[in-house]
Amino acid sequence: MTTQIRHRAIGEGIGVRLLVGAGLVLAATMFLIPILWMLSTALKPAKEVLIVPPQWIPSEIHWRNFVDIWGLGRLDTGIKNSAIMTFSSMIGVFCSAPLVAFGFSRLHFTGRDKLFVVVLATMMLPSQVTLIPLYIIYKNLRWLDTFAPFIVPSFFGGGAFFIFLLRQFFMTIPVELEDAARIDGCSTIRIFAQIFMPLAKPALATVGIFTFINGWNAYLGPLLFLSSPQKMPITVILANFKDVQGGVQYNMVMAAACAAVLPCILVFLIFQEYMVGGIALTGIKG
């Protein structure tokens, strides 16, 4: 807190502070406008959507749109599929990423640091490079048009970014804690499960949130590896929603967009503390 108060002194007098405030309010308004526009269109009756100039606020709030979208274009199936894939991959990430991160941060074995460089290098690899071979591999495993490509890999490491993030966190836990437990006869796996895991709750929350958002928003993978309409996640359903609607009923399209983004926004609003902390942790303390 003290540093924050000192930081404020950077601003010179009331004039600068007013200017800063005005700039922020203006920027925030511009950032909010697309979201408000989405919401306003989603609540419009059909006859008010195609008006020139556009009407900013609907004359009557048409909540019914949010009821009517469910039957259209398999939106409900999409949400269900996204939820299954997202939560299953979260379980996978939680089962494997902490184990691996613990190994890379607290255990001493030959080749550890070299392998960790490999973990970091894989973060830079554009996923398109492995996409075509993965398609062929999944085809041979008969995983195409199943949820396996979105769930199974997460049980094997859970993704380089999450290993990295958890490792950074485990590194901060004092070694004395570990030593004391060892003297008491604790095995490594118990030290991991009963000391490190409970301490890592904030970092695990960050990992869980990012896994949720990545899974919920995945598009290219499902587009390639799935083919049955009843298996598509919400992203693919929404991308096709416009065509289902004949490109006219934009109030319905926007209501569907609201439904697609709402889970992520809720998760963000509830857990934002962990997210902001996690981003800052990976961003500079690498």
Binding site: R8, I10, L99, P126, I132, V261, G283, I284, G286
Partner: protein
């Protein structure tokens, strides 16, 4: 098992334990990364349409690329997108973070607002902005009309469609803003104080204290957003599908079409490898150039 491990040397036991912990990652890395990666290199030198077994064709795919007009076009479009979108986003994020750094009250609220767009998937982003850009019914031209400008037809004009996509991308800068803000907090206040005593005004202090101290984070944001920008796909696919007249045919969209619409898996792999080499090269160039403009004086990186 316990009997065996007890007979092993402490070193061997440590190794076994270590590899058991990271074992899941090793399996995942081999199965879903390394093998596909090597396979993809092989495919880049092959012709394969799934129906028949792959045939090694040497450099044929790359020779074809060299003469492929759409490839060059996609590369040009993506370069423009990467340069403009990354520059714009880094500038916006640094500006927002600098402003946020000056306030205490409401900082959290503003940060929440700036971060909200990051929650939008590429698809939702494309869908929502697809309703902002339309010439008649769209919000953007309505805003322009209110200040007396007759807005253009953003998405159907080949000269403007890519600009529209870049504008849309500039909405998602929340992640970068958070990282910049964390970096600004790390600048020791003493530096500002010293400059102030020497008579530097707020702008001079920004240019001579803040900017040099923040360069390592600028580098980090440049590299990560550049890697992401080269891979832009979902929002473009939804907003314009590469049109009009291929004016927004970004690289991954072209790769996707070649590989999964036409099932040119070998050619698609060659495209993927060119992208990979490009990303690695640009990253290396940025890191190398950083020696001349990144200041590693006081910030730990």
């Amino acid at each position: 098992m316990a009997a065996i491990t007890r007979r092993l040397s402490p070193d061997a036991r440590r190794n076994i334990e270590g590899y058991l912990f990271i074992g899941p990652w090793i399996i995942g890395f081999l199965a879903f990364m390394l093998i596909p990666f090597v396979f993809s290199l092989f495919l880049a030198f092959s012709e394969w349409t799934i129906a028949e077994p792959p045939q090694f064709v040497g450099l044929a795919n790359f020779r074809e690329l060299a003469g492929d007009e759409l490839f060059w076009k996609a590369l040009r479009i993506t370069t423009v997108y990467v340069v403009l979108s990354v520059t714009l986003r880094v500038t916006i994020a640094l500006t927002l973070a600098t402003l946020l750094h000056q306030v205490i009250h409401g900082r959290r609220l503003f940060l929440t607002v700036f971060y909200l767009p990051v929650m939008f998937s590429g698809v939702t982003l494309g869908v929502v902005w697809g309703w902002i850009f339309p010439a008649d019914y769209g919000l953007l031209n309505d805003l322009l009309r209110r200040i007396g400008i007759e807005g253009p037809n953003w998405l159907s004009d080949p000269a403007l469609a890519l600009i529209s996509i870049i504008m849309m991308s500039s909405w998602r800068v929340g992640g970068m803003t958070v990282i910049f803000l964390a970096g600004l907090e790390d600048i020791p206040y003493e530096l500002h104080e010293a400059a102030q005593i020497d008579g530097a005004n707020i702008l001079q202090r920004f240019a001579r204290v803040t900017v040099p101290m923040i360069t390592p984070i600028v580098l980090f944001n440049l590299v990560t957003s550049m890697i992401g920008a080269f891979q832009v796909f979902g929002e473009v696919q939804v907003l314009t599908s590469g049109g009009p007249y291929n004016s927004t045919l970004v690289y991954v969209l072209y790769l996707y079409r070649q590989a999964f619409n036409f099932f040119h898996l070998g050619y698609g792999s060659a495209l993927a490898w060119v992208l990979f080499v490009l990303v690695v090269t640009v990253t290396a160039l940025l890191l190398r150039s950083s020696k001349s403009w990144v200041y590693y004086g006081g910030v730990r990186v």
